[in-house]
Structure formats: structure tokens, C-alpha cells
Amino acid sequence: MTGSWHELTLIVNGVPLRATVPARRLLSDCLRHDLGLTGTHVGCEHGVCGACTVLIDGVPMRSCLLLAVSVDGQAITTVEGLAGPDGELSAVQQAFQDCHGLQCGFCTPGFLTTITAGLIGCPDPTADDARDMIGGNLCRCTGYQNIVAAVLRAAELTRAAAGEDADAAVDSGQAP
């Protein structure tokens, strides 16, 4: 009834994790319930809301539309993997707090992962770019204006940090 069971290894936030799951286990359920990473949320289970978005080899994908077995061996970034090693908020996370880009926080993990990937491809977004970037994620609380502001703020924080890194590199005599 539950079909065949599969052993798989997922490289989640840089850490190889093993799980034994039935073929039908959704990636979202595998992350949340087999691996205990409950930061990824499930809002619709049909791929529309985007709350469950994770990065698979750097690409945003809806974990509620993927079977866990289909991503065996791949690198997955969840919301738990966005902050720095010392727990410092990433630029996107910090921008969400700065701009009041979240209220209940349920949809937020999907926005954070989506924007994190989006800013790599589009590091200097306009407001239109920001709206495009989040155009596939649903939020019922914020009305999106502050999320758009957070995208722009995150880009600003990232540029500022890159500038500081470059300055630090110059100070220490390294090539930027």
C-alpha cells in the first residue's frame, strides 16, 4: 500500500542527511518530518503558494511538488541554511525585519529562499524586478509592499557588505 521504501541522502544546508522514505513521500514532508527541518512550510500542497520553496542546487523549487526520492544526492538549501554560521541573519533575512516584510511568518521561508536565489541572478533589482522576483509567492498578511521594499533593502545590504569586504581586503593587502 505504501509502495517501496528508499534510502536516500540529501545534502541539506551543506550537511549530508540520510532518510528512508516511501516512494510517495513529498520532499516537503521528508524535510519537515523525516529530517525535522520544520522551517519549510506547506501552505497549499499544490505548488501555488510558494511557502515550501527550497533551493535545489541553487534553484528555487516547490518542495510540495517534488518526491523526496527524486532529489536523492542533491544539495538543498532551506530557510534554516540562510543565516551565517554564527547565526547572524543574512541580508535577506535582515531586510525582512528592517522593512516589516513579515507578519505571521508562515509564508516567509518561501520568500526568503526565493529572494536569496533571485538576488544572485539580479543583484541590483529595480522595484519591478523585485515584484517579478516574488511574483509566484502568496502572502495573506503583508500586502507585499514591505516585501518588495525588503528585496530592495536586501540588495542594498548585500552591496554594502560586499563593499566592506572589498575595503577589508584592501586594508589587509589582499586583492578585492
Partner: protein, 806 residues
């Protein structure tokens, strides 16, 4: 001095954990719990003739199957009718599991508990139910016609019939120089928080206690309901509200069937059981709102002053009536908005249909009332050829008339008396913000370019901060940290931040040292719940009062220790010190130590409070009128609701070819009294406006004639993405403090959504030149309306005497 926190746009203290995936929502808890799945009715109306679970018993991992036959004691009775009202003639509520009959698609018939949700659903699929289908009643028209009945013992499908009247409206209308009649319609929508419902229960057989977590807007309500249904003393039930992924009203109903069935199963099976609703279940088994048909008669003079207003409406309450008449009562009273008609009569029927129950959704009946009133005012302006804002101003209650008694009974059973508000000032601000006086020229210029633009205006008054009460507890620990608790729950409103701001000001401590807990009956067992934009007003006030109580005790204890008068002391950044002599000071933590006379020393600090160190040997260590510890507990119980108000304007452009409706500008002027945190208030307005845009232009609940919900998914229920909402919302605040509470607060949570249907109908009417009388409106609807109006001279046509399009 410590800078004042109330009024500051403080960043939320909730955010860091939510941003790193460390929130704790319902389904994040109970990882080892068994899971429950529900067999739901596929029929809108049917008799159940047989339930055969045989095939389901083979499913591996199955733990239990329950049907109505398995329910005992109070669990076998219908679920409670939460808010009784004398006008309810046939109050029907559902059973936790359907007994003999189902009355909507989605009604719970059986539940399965298994090792996980996948297996529980496997078993649900194997249960065979035999039905004898009955004719369903779908929609207000069918309910009114009453060719078929939802409940055989509810004649005419009427749950309640209610009339309120002030003055003689019929006579006033008859005597008025001008008269209009309107027929209006507004469709169903739904809260649809991103997180659905969910409940987890653990039964501790050693202590015979139940602990449950539920994604609710009222933990104390669930606690009382579960205790009653399971036959447990209240003291044996603990309800904890974890992080809640949005509520918007739908999570106020209690108990849901699952909220009693999960603890029932947990107790029977001796292990934790969890139910997590999926999206389709949310659409077909939670709650909807908004559906009404309205008939309005109005009599007015040549200035547009309303002399008599008579409103008759029919409210679709769905298959059952757990929440009583709250929604239609709010419609019928809040319809009046900032206006004072000469005479007013309202009559409504609350009608059963074979659809999902109708309970409050953000705005809770107000959007419908505002829609009725504002459409009426636009119709009067059109009829008389007057400026729409002038007609509104003519009918305003003036600031000098506050408090203003409408002579009606409000949703809390108390007189509808507005406490404060300056409506002319609000309108002046809105007109300045949107550029009202420049509009005719702008519209004419746009028309000359072949563009159709329209400006809409809508005003509302919102009764907020409704009673009966909330409480607050503030405790200063010996570490100097401050623990705050209130019983109502949070769903993203930033209560932990806003309440900490209040306590920081009252106690003179840093927000970093304050921790706020909401919705945990272990920490605060007396509470009502989070709805009616009441949390800041009621819990905010109660917490302020509790903090003041704690402060008085701080000053008393510190005054003794510092040998000073309490009046000469101040608290600054966590230090109690003598004013003008900051060197004479002690920390709040030390005061907390001294407040609790000790026999034993546990650490260096506590030595200061032991029996050979402190105390007057002629007095008891704790005085008769005192108690140990440094804490305050107080309650705020408002005499009446406080009334926030606001006015919205929207400019839309409608595409001449495709009838697409584009928002060019959206302006909000909002008066919620004293702002605790402008960042949070604006966030609430943004979210409300977005929900209003959805409700006005995109979202509808589509039932077919058989009572099947046709759009029970986010694919088909068109909740706005970023592409559908205004790029910016221009907001101006007016702060008219409420005289009814210690902080001057009025609620802000629902405001953004209340005037949406009205303001978009107004703007689209202005753009198109014919009156919009049914909302929501899609491009297809508008296209069809244009065809219907083609061939007539649509421009400046009166809104009145149009048939509703749906």
C-alpha cells in the same frame, strides 16, 4: 531618560526566530504524534444510510476509526451555539461527526487515526459510506425561495429574523422630497490564512491531564469547549497557542470538530494525536463569509441629507449557525458608518444554505454594511448631481456630537455609542491626499485621450476593542527581566512587540528585558480572544494597568530600602533611583529580591532578603494587604466598544477593450487613536487593503447548484499575488485618542479591508458611467455589464433601481 517606546516604529521582536525557520507552528510540533485524517461528505445534502469501515481496517499503521456511533456523553451532542441571541428561531449546529445527515460538502463523517497522515488518508479512502441524496439549497435566492429546506425544522430556511429601528423610517422616506431604491449583492469570500487549521493533543494518563496545542484565535475558548465536551475539569485541560500562520477570523470558531476529536482520540489511544488541515479541507470545511443580498430604500432632501433609510437584507449563514448572528448584526449596525440618518430601520433574515458555515472574516459583516451605505450615498450624489464627498459631509456626525448614541444595540449587546472621531477632518485629509478637487480635470483629460479612469471614495466606522475583557500579568524576576502574559492569542499582529513597548514605558525598562507570552492558558487562564480588532485595546490596556500595579509595588519596596518617599523615585533603564540623586539607586532585580522575604538564600543576591538581614521584627514579613513577589495582574473591561474610523480613495483605470481593472492609486486615511507602533499599524493596513483588493476584484467562493465548491484551491480561488495589489498605499493617520481606555487606543487590525468592496464599486462606477451593484467584479463581469449597458446613454446614469447582476 529612557525614550518613550509607544509611538515608535520599533522593529518586531518576533521576527528573528521566524526568519531563521525557528518558528513553531502547529504542524512543527508533535513529530512523533499519530495523525488524524477526516472522511468528509462529498454531498451537499444527504442522509447517511450506512458506513462500512471494513476495508479500512486492513490498512497498515491504522490505530483507530471513529464515527458518530463512537461518540459518547457531551461529545454526542451537537457542537455549541457559541453566541445565543433572542432573534434566533432555529439555531442549528453540526455534530462533531455527522449523525444521520450531512448539510455541506466537507462535513466531517468519520475520522481515522494512523501512524502518519499518508496512512490515515489511505484508510479514509477505504471507508464506504452510503448516502441518500437530498436536494441542496445553494445561494441566498434558493434559501429565500425555500422550495427545499436545509433543516426540516427550520421553516423558510430562516435561522433568525431581526429588526432594529430608530425613528419612523418608512414615514420619513415617504415624506422626503427625493427617494431611491437600490438592490445590491455581495458574494462569499474566505479568510484563507496561509496556514490552515491544526490541533495536537497529549493525554498524560499519570496526572490525568490533557495538554493541547491548536492554531486558534482563542485558546481559553477552546479550553472551555474541550473540557465541556470531554467531561474534564477545566483545571485538567491546558491549551497552548503556538505560532499561528494567519487567522483573519476563521480560527475564532471553537471548537471545530477536530478540536474535540483529536483530544478524544489522544485520551482513548494514550498517545499524542495531531490533525493538520490541508488546503482543500480548509476551503470545504472551515468557514466563509460576506454573502448577502440587500434592498435599500432611502429618502433625502436636496442637499443629500438622508431623512429616512430602510435596509432589508438576506444573509447566507451556511449550513449551521455556530457563531450566532454576529456577522449580520455587525452589518446592520456598522452600516451607518460616520453618518446620522434622520430615521433608520434595518431588517434581516439569516438563512441556511447547504454550504460551508459562515463566521467572521476580517471585517466581519462591516464590508457588506459599508458597501450598502456607500453605494447609497453615491446614488444620492448621482441623483442630485452633487459632489460625492459633499453628500457624505452633509450626513456626517460632527465631532461636537461625540459621544454619539445611534439608539441601536451593537454586536456586544450594548448601545451603539461612538466614543470619538473627527469625520470632517478625516475626509479633509483624504481629499487632500488623493487630490479630490483636481479629479474632474484629470478625468476629463484622460477621457480626451480615450482612457477610462474612475475615482472611488468610501468611509467607515469600526467598532473595535469589544469586551467582555482581557487581562494582563506583569512579573519582575530577580534577574530584573520582566515576564508579561496575556490570554489572547497572536496570528502575526506583532503583539509581543507592541505589548513590550507598553510595558517598557510603564516600568522604565528596556524592551530587551521584556518577554511577552500570549495564548497560553498555563500563563493566563482568563481571556476572550483575538478578533474585532480588540487585542491592543483590551490586552494592551490590561497589560498597562498590570504594569502600573507592578510599578507601584516596585516603588513601595524600593522606597523602604532606599529610605525615600515613593513619590521621589523614578525608574530609568531598569534602575530605581531617587530623582535628582541618581547615585541613590537599586536595580529592579534587587527590588524583586527584597519583595519576597526568604528563609533560604539560593545565591548571593537572595541573601539580601533572608530573615536575619531584612524585616521589621514588629511586623509580619508579608503585610496583611501585601503579597510576596513583584508582580501585577489586572483586567481591562470596556464599558463599550471604541470606534476607529477611516476613509479610502482609489483611482482605477478600466481597459476599454478587455475590461481589465487596474489600480492607479490607493489612499487611506485612518484614525485608530494612539498608535503604539506605526510600522505594525501600516503593515495591518497594507494587508487589509490587499485582502480587500482580493475580495473586490478577484476572490469569490463558487458553488455550483449541487453545492460542490468549484474553486477549492489556490489555483482557482484567486488570492492576490504582488502583481494584483497597488504598488504603494498612501497612508495618512489621524490620532483621535479614545477616552475609554488608559492608552487612548482604538483597534487597527481589520480596518484595511472594510471599505474595499464599496470603494472599488464607487471607482469603477465612476470610470464606466453606470452603477456597479454586485461585487466582487471581474473583467468578465464588467465586460458583460458593458454589453448590457451598451445602446443606452450610460453616463451619469443613476445607480438606483438596477437589478443585481448575480
Amino acid at each position: 531618560m529612557t525614550s518613550r517606546m509607544v509611538g515608535e516604529a520599533v522593529k518586531r521582536v518576533e521576527d528573528p526566530r521566524l526568519l531563521v525557520g525557528a518558528g513553531r507552528f502547529l504542524d512543527d510540533l508533535g513529530q512523533d504524534a499519530a495523525e488524524l485524517a477526516v472522511l468528509r461528505s462529498p454531498h451537499a445534502h444527504a442522509r447517511i444510510t450506512d458506513i462500512d469501515v471494513t476495508a479500512a481496517l486492513e490498512v497498515q499503521g491504522l490505530l483507530a476509526i471513529y464515527t458518530y456511533e463512537d461518540l459518547t456523553g457531551p461529545l454526542a451532542d451537537p457542537l455549541p451555539l457559541l453566541i445565543p441571541h433572542p432573534a434566533i428561531s432555529a439555531g442549528r449546529t453540526q455534530y462533531a461527526l455527522a449523525k444521520d445527515e450531512v448539510n455541506y460538502v466537507g462535513e466531517a463523517i468519520a475520522v481515522v487515526v494512523a501512524e502518519n497522515r499518508y496512512l490515515a488518508e489511505d484508510a479514509v479512502e477505504r471507508i464506504v459510506v452510503s448516502y441518500r441524496p437530498l436536494t441542496p439549497v445553494v445561494g441566498v435566492q434558493a434559501a429565500r425561495a425555500a422550495d427545499h429546506l436545509v433543516h426540516e425544522d427550520a421553516p423558510g430556511n430562516v435561522a433568525a429574523h431581526f429588526v432594529q429601528e430608530v425613528g419612523d423610517a418608512a414615514a420619513a422616506i415617504a415624506a422626503a422630497p427625493f427617494r431611491l431604491e437600490l438592490e445590491l449583492a455581495i458574494e462569499r469570500s474566505a479568510s484563507t490564512p496561509l496556514e490552515g487549521r491544526g490541533v495536537l493533543a497529549q493525554w498524560d494518563s499519570d496526572s490525568q491531564r490533557l495538554r493541547m496545542w491548536t492554531s486558534t484565535q482563542t485558546s481559553t475558548g477552546v479550553r472551555a469547549a474541550v473540557a465541556a465536551k470531554l467531561g474534564l475539569d477545566l483545571g485538567r485541560v491546558e491549551v497552548i497557542t503556538p505560532d499561528v500562520g494567519g487567522g483573519f477570523g476563521v480560527k475564532i470558531v471553537h471548537p471545530w470538530p477536530e478540536e474535540v476529536l483529536v483530544p478524544m482520540a489522544a485520551r482513548a489511544l494514550g498517545r499524542a494525536v495531531k490533525f493538520t488541515e490541508d488546503r482543500r479541507e480548509h476551503f470545504i470545511s472551515a468557514a466563509h463569509e460576506r454573502g448577502q443580498l440587500q434592498q435599500i430604500e432611502v429618502g433625502f432632501d436636496a442637499t443629500g441629507r438622508i431623512l429616512g433609510l430602510s435596509v432589508r437584507f438576506w444573509h447566507d449563514n451556511g449550513a449551521y449557525l455556530p457563531y450566532g448572528l454576529i456577522v449580520p448584526i455587525i452589518t446592520s449596525t456598522q452600516l451607518l458608518g460616520p453618518y446620522k440618518p434622520g430615521a433608520y430601520r434595518v431588517e434581516f433574515d439569516s438563512l441556511y444554505t447547504n454550504t460551508v458555515i459562515v463566521t467572521p472574516y476580517r471585517g466581519a459583516g462591516r464590508p457588506q454594511g459599508v458597501y450598502a451605505m456607500e453605494r447609497t450615498l453615491d446614488a444620492i450624489a448621482s441623483e442630485l448631481g452633487l459632489d460625492r464627498s459633499e453628500v457624505r459631509a452633509t450626513n456626517f456626525i460632527q465631532p461636537s456630537e461625540m459621544p454619539y448614541d445611534h439608539g441601536l444595540i451593537f454586536q456586544d449587546g450594548r448601545p451603539l455609542v461612538y466614543d470619538s472621531g473627527d469625520f470632517p477632518a478625516t475626509l479633509a485629509k483624504l481629499k487632500a491626499l488623493v487630490g479630490w478637487d483636481d479629479w474632474p480635470a484629470y478625468q476629463a483629460a484622460a477621457r480626451a485621450q480615450g482612457r477610462q479612469v474612475g475615482l472611488g471614495l468610501a468611509c467607515y466606522v469600526e467598532g473595535t476593542g469589544v469586551g467582555p475583557y482581557e487581562g494582563g500579568h506583569v512579573q519582575i524576576e530577580t534577574s530584573g527581566r520582566v515576564k508579561v502574559a496575556t490570554g489572547l492569542t497572536s496570528q502575526g499582529q506583532g503583539h509581543q512587540t507592541a505589548f513590550a513597548q507598553i510595558v517598557a514605558d510603564e516600568l522604565g525598562v528596556s524592551m530587551d528585558d521584556i518577554e511577552v507570552v500570549t495564548g497560553d492558558t498555563r500563563r493566563f487562564p482568563y481571556a476572550v480572544g483575538t478578533f474585532a480588532s480588540r487585542a491592543a485595546v483590551t490586552s494592551g490596556s490590561a497589560i498597562a494597568l498590570a504594569a502600573r500595579m507592578a510599578r507601584r509595588k516596585v516603588l513601595k519596596v524600593a522606597a523602604d530600602a532606599l529610605e525615600a518617599n515613593p513619590e521621589d523615585l523614578e525608574i530609568v533603564e531598569g534602575m530605581v533611583r531617587v530623582k535628582g540623586a541618581p547615585g541613590v539607586a537599586m536595580s529592579l532585580g534587587t527590588v524583586a529580591v527584597l519583595s519576597n522575604p526568604l528563609r533560604y538564600a539560593f545565591d548571593e543576591a537572595s541573601k539580601a532578603a533572608t530573615q536575619f538581614v531584612v524585616g521589621d521584627s514588629d511586623l509580619p514579613p508579608v503585610n496583611e494587604d501585601d503579597e510576596p513577589g513583584l508582580e501585577g495582574r489586572d483586567y481591562y473591561s470596556p464599558l463599550r466598544s471604541t470606534f476607529a474610523n477611516g476613509m479610502h480613495a482609489v483611482i482605477v483605470e478600466t481597459d476599454p477593450e478587455t475590461a481589465e481593472i487596474k489600480i492607479l492609486r490607493y489612499c487611506v486615511v485612518h484614525d485608530c487613536g494612539t498608535l503604539i507602533n506605526p510600522l505594525i499599524v501600516e503593515g495591518q493596513v497594507h494587508g487589509g487593503v490587499a485582502q480587500g483588493v482580493g475580495g473586490a476584484l478577484y476572490e469569490r467562493i463558487v458553488y455550483d447548484d449541487a453545492g460542490q465548491l468549484q474553486n477549492a484551491s489556490f489555483m482557482d480561488f484567486l488570492m492576490p499575488y504582488v502583481s494584483e495589489v497597488p504598488e504603494s498605499i498612501e497612508i495618512d493617520h489621524l490620532e483621535t485618542p479614545s477616552p475609554l481606555n488608559p492608552l487612548g487606543i482604538k483597534g487597527a487590525g481589520e480596518a484595511g479591508v472594510i471599505p474595499s468592496a464599496a470603494v472599488f464599486a464607487s471607482a469603477i462606477s465612476d470610470a464606466e458611467g453606470f452603477a456597479i451593484t454586485a461585487m466582487p467584479i471581474s473583467p468578465s463581469d464588467l465586460f458583460e455589464l458593458r454589453r448590457r449597458h451598451a445602446g443606452t446613454d450610460g453616463h451619469n446614469e443613476s445607480i438606483a433601481k438596477k437589478e443585481p447582476t448575480r
